[in-house]
């Protein structure tokens, strides 16, 4: 789950990390009033769950309150990569002397958090890692110890942080690590981290993405949850107990088990087609879940054929068949269905589907080929 900049900054501020003063607005008039109240100049920033908003024109400097209003008018309602801007953040502009990068994420290979600090700030850290890998200092704190003072200082020495800011940046890194742990973050970033003309350090931007599996113990952060327009179906599917990802193709996919469904997508591609979605009904799916899954897939207008690929383990072939029949009973689907049933109770399932308006194939490859043919 992603937080907006202003939400992430509130979390940082509570942990004692300095942020520029700022407030949110949803109208140009509000933006103008905030600019006057904060003192000028200010920065007007689009609050959307997508990167690259600066390049898209979603971040503007205003020297007067009237200018803040003009920028707010332009930014509110703007479309940034499919996300409509509903909220802007008006913030006192920092007096920037230098920009740094400070971020923490999960290093899967080392099974540790990795803290990264660089004097190349304001750029995408993945781009820095590619073009100037020696410009990123890294530290992997032992989770039971946390980021200790000596390790934070070592990061500053390695990154080449100016001497005057060393203690302040090290302290900020320690505080950020504590936020990373306490919020169950997958990624937390201050980019850029400003060194101001007066020598103080302040978080210029803030990114925070929280582990969805930990939301049960983050009651406060859950209130920040927003469902993006392209995630509506995915959220609906999650509520029903399965995972769904919208894709661009024409063959609707339903399967059981993430790996099997991924392979099913690949089989469709191998057969010259393209998948319209990823849908894993999970283990032990009952009739009602299969029915709901089929309805979601059929609701996508791009779908020209549906491929149901079940290898029964905990999931039973007869339950799957009953779910399909429950949909067919109401109406004949607008597109052809292709099914491949194997494993637990597959024969019982196939027997139930005898005479139903669908195509049955014995293997995943054969069924994929048939589904792709029917989608054309």
């Amino acid at each position: 789950m992603k937080l907006h900049e202003f939400q992430a900054k509130q979390v940082l501020a509570r942990a004692g990390i300095a942020i520029p003063e700022g407030r949110t607005a949803t109208t140009p008039e509000e933006a103008e009033a905030i600019a006057t109240a904060l003192g000028l100049p200010v920065v007007v920033k689009a609050q959307v769950h997508v990167g690259g908003r600066g390049k898209a024109g979603g971040v503007k400097l205003a020297k007067t309150a009237a200018e803040a209003k003009t920028h707010a008018t332009a930014i509110l309602g703007m479309d940034i990569k499919g996300f409509t801007v509903r909220t802007i953040y008006v913030e006192r502009a920092a007096k920037i002397a230098k920009e740094l990068y400070l971020g923490i994420t999960i290093d899967r290979d080392r099974r540790r958090a990795v803290v990264m600090l660089s004097t190349v700030g304001g750029m995408d850290i993945e781009a820095v890692a590619e073009t100037q890998p020696d410009k990123i200092a890294r530290s992997w704190p032992e989770p039971l110890l946390g980021l200790r003072g000596y390790a934070a200082r070592a990061l500053c020495f390695e990154a080449g942080v100016p001497e005057a800011q060393r203690e302040a940046v090290a302290a900020m890194a320690q505080k950020l690590y504590d936020v990373f742990r306490s919020t169950d973050a997958m990624t937390i970033e201050i980019n850029p981290l400003f060194i101001q003309e007066d020598g103080s350090v302040v978080a210029g931007d803030a990114k925070l993405e929280v582990d969805d599996n930990a939301l049960y113990r983050q009651p406060e952060l859950v209130t920040y949850k927003e469902i993006a327009p392209d995630e509506v179906q995915e959220e609906r599917a999650k509520a029903l107990g399965f995972s769904y990802v919208q894709l661009d193709g024409t063959v609707g996919i339903i399967g059981n088990g993430a790996g099997l469904v991924m392979s099913t997508l690949d089989a469709v591609k191998n057969a010259g087609g393209s998948a319209a979605n990823f849908l894993d009904v999970g283990g032990g799916a009952k009739e009602s879940v299969v029915k709901a899954a089929l309805e979601i897939v059929l609701a996508n207008p791009k779908v020209k054929a549906v491929f149901i690929n079940i290898f029964g383990g905990i999931t039973r072939g007869d339950e799957v068949a009953k779910g399909i029949l429950a949909v067919l009973k109401d109406a004949t689907p607008r597109v052809p269905l292709v099914i491949r049933l194997s494993g637990t109770e597959a024969e019982a399932g196939r027997a139930l589907l005898e005479g139903a308006p669908l195509v049955s194939r014995a293997t995943m490859d054969e069924a994929a080929t048939e589904a792709v043919r029917l989608a054309k």
Partner: protein, 291 residues
Amino acid sequence: MSVLVGAQTRVLVQGLGREGAFHAARMIEYGTKVVGASKPGKGGTTQDGIPLFDTVAQAVAATGANTSIIFVPASAAPDAILEALDAKIGVIVAITEGIAVHEMLTVASMLERSTSVLIGPNCPGLISPGTAKVGIMPAENFSTGPVGFVSRSGTLTYEIADLLTKAGLGQTTCIGIGGDPIIGLPTPDAVRYLNEDPATEVIVIVGEIGGSAEERAAEYMRAHGKKPAVAFIAGRSAPPGKRMGHAGAIVSGNSGTAQSKVAAFEAAGIPVATAPSEIPGLVKKALAGRR
């Protein structure tokens, strides 16, 4: 022969709820020695003929359990793993899906200080056909033979085991390592067990998009491989930035792509199947080249 679980395995069940009880019964049916279950407050009683204990330590002392299988819900599972580690259980299998990543960071840190092996979480467990099943896989898809098999996926493991079995290619041990970003026994470590196992003649490595465990496994086999291997990567057609069902199955930036994994295996001389149905043929070819 087999790795990690076999005739010596004595299983303790942590979480004998509806799912745990169902699978405990299937494991016993298979011939696995299920010696007890931990259920705080129910120590001294039995459930379905399985002796219950208040703590894992008590169960180990009373039964000599050397393996545990965990079914408790995600919020309690890290505690269950740590309890098993504390009681020095040798092989811990965590079936539970949805454990918070930060909990797994702590678990991984404790695991590294121990001599225990953790399989999972978010995995189907492991099976040494004919001797022991410590997991939730449908046993009929597996058979005894020379193939060592490691996989990040559940159902896909059953599918491929079924294809192997139908082609007359039985298995030494099949290890379902789990689909989470942080797991106890990543692909290269699982491969190392199979590489060191004298009964395993060929290794099947089933990976998926996300992370770089497959690349590291390929590098390990290139440097230390004692036997041929065959690989398959699920998710070749997955778009970047989207989590494909498994928490760990995500392509971020340039890392975790199927292309990178396929290239790493090919550079290590390991053929990569483009569909599961190609795996048995590649395994037969690898075995023929060896014999």
